[in-house]
């Protein structure tokens, strides 16, 4: 992960779901079912998300040997995105529009026709583009039942928790402010904590001075 590097940004989770006797088989099956697939440009997609192998995120052929390293379970969340740079798209659209005008002997295209051309050009370019790949490493320590994902992106973490639940059967509690409050306080304390009002750390003498100034103005 990033955990293999010197400096790491990550999001920790507590794995809340209990592991059944065949949990390794279930996890392996879930990784295979939830692995990253090709981007389907034909249906208008320019992005895909899924699991990939930890040691080589280009590899999606999961095996026991590539995933389970007692006490660690290792895999990746991979996000592939196809991007056409706006300046490139503009140039190709300009050429295609010129071709259409020449072929139809017209002076200009309607707005709708131009948008249609732009969409076709974009789809053509996306089919030829190489995806930008982001791999976020997931390290699940089965001793502590903590799982760490090497990103702090809220969007990627949301995708990961949904996918972990859907494919791996894992309920993950993020160990952020709310997760810590809800896992460490009892019900009464938690209710009180959610009803606290902010405290002021402003010294009384400063607060009085500010109040007087506000009154004067």
């Amino acid at each position: 992960m990033a955990l293999t590097q010197g400096i790491v940004s990550y999001t920790p989770y507590q794995v809340e779901s209990a592991a059944g006797p065949d949990w390794k088989a279930a996890v392996l099956d879930g990784l295979v079912r939830g692995r990253v697939s090709a981007i389907d440009v034909a249906v208008g997609r320019d992005r895909t998300t899924g699991f990939a192998v930890f040691s080589d995120p280009l590899d999606t052929e999961f095996t026991v040997e590539k995933v389970f390293f007692d006490p660690l379970v290792l895999f990746c969340l991979r996000v592939d995105r196809l991007v056409v740079p706006p300046s490139t798209l503009r140039l190709h659209v300009r050429r295609r529009v010129a071709e259409v005008l020449a072929a139809t002997r017209r002076q200009r295209l309607s707005r709708e026709e131009r948008e249609e051309v732009e969409e076709q050009v974009r789809a053509d370019l996306l089919r030829r583009a190489l995806p930008a790949i982001t791999a976020c490493e997931a390290v699940w320590d089965t001793r502590s039942n903590r799982l760490r994902l090497s990103t702090t992106s809220q969007a990627l973490n949301e995708e990961f928790t949904v996918r972990a639940r859907e494919f791996l059967g894992l309920e993950l509690r993020p160990l952020n402010l709310v997760g810590v409050l809800e896992s460490r306080l009892d019900a009464e304390e938690l209710d009180q904590a959610y009803h606290l009002l902010p405290s002021s750390f402003v010294p009384a003498v400063v607060a009085d001075r500010v109040s007087r100034l506000e009154d004067e103005t």
């Binding site: 955990l3 402010l177 810590v180 002021s200 400063v206």
Partner: protein
């Protein structure tokens, strides 16, 4: 309350994260960086180099102060005395002789974490397992400090005394 979404619960409770980081800064200055955990063990917490201070509406009122030691900065005290609180800090934590450096914000998110130096291991999986142990220790200590703060915050008598001492420091006391 847990029927609210995570984002709503976070919005509701995030002020506790800002208060926690502010309390941690002030108590670090007052207590020679030493804190006692619930199990009696000690941890040293040093604030370093950069501190982000936020007002009630962080989207509008936010400033980052870069100083060698934020606990010894008049600029930091001034910002706090004007009602700002710590929203993000660069921290060094020493626990049982092991040193962690990280950036923590008011949601307790951890960024740019540098784990303790470990002897060079040949097996990369051994390195990962060691890092998982270190990560757990860091998370447990930080969460322990946070929960100790929240429990104090829920006790009106203890919090009144604590708040007096924190505001006295903000106002220029030691």
């Amino acid at each position: 309350m847990t029927t609210l979404s995570m984002a709503d619960r976070m919005r509701r409770a995030q002020f506790l994260g800002r208060e926690f980081l502010t309390w941690l800064l002030v108590r670090s200055a007052q207590n020679d960086q030493v804190f006692r955990l619930s199990d009696g063990r000690e941890v040293e917490v040093f604030f370093e180099r950069a501190l982000t201070l936020e007002g009630e509406n962080p989207a509008r009122e936010m400033s980052t102060i870069r100083v060698e030691d934020p606990t010894d900065s008049e600029e930091v005290r001034l910002a706090l005395s004007l009602g700002k609180k710590v929203g993000r800090a660069r921290v060094k934590m020493v626990f049982q002789g092991r040193e962690y450096e990280f950036v923590v914000d008011s949601t307790l998110a951890l960024k740019s974490v540098r784990f303790p130096e470990t002897p060079l291991a040949v097996d990369p999986l051994e390195v990962l397992a060691d890092k998982a142990d270190a990560a757990r220790e860091l998370e447990d200590v930080l969460h322990d400090l946070f929960i100790a703060f929240v429990r104090m915050r829920l006790d009106p008598e203890r919090w009144t005394v604590e708040l007096d001492e924190v505001t006295a420091w903000v106002g220029g006391g030691s």
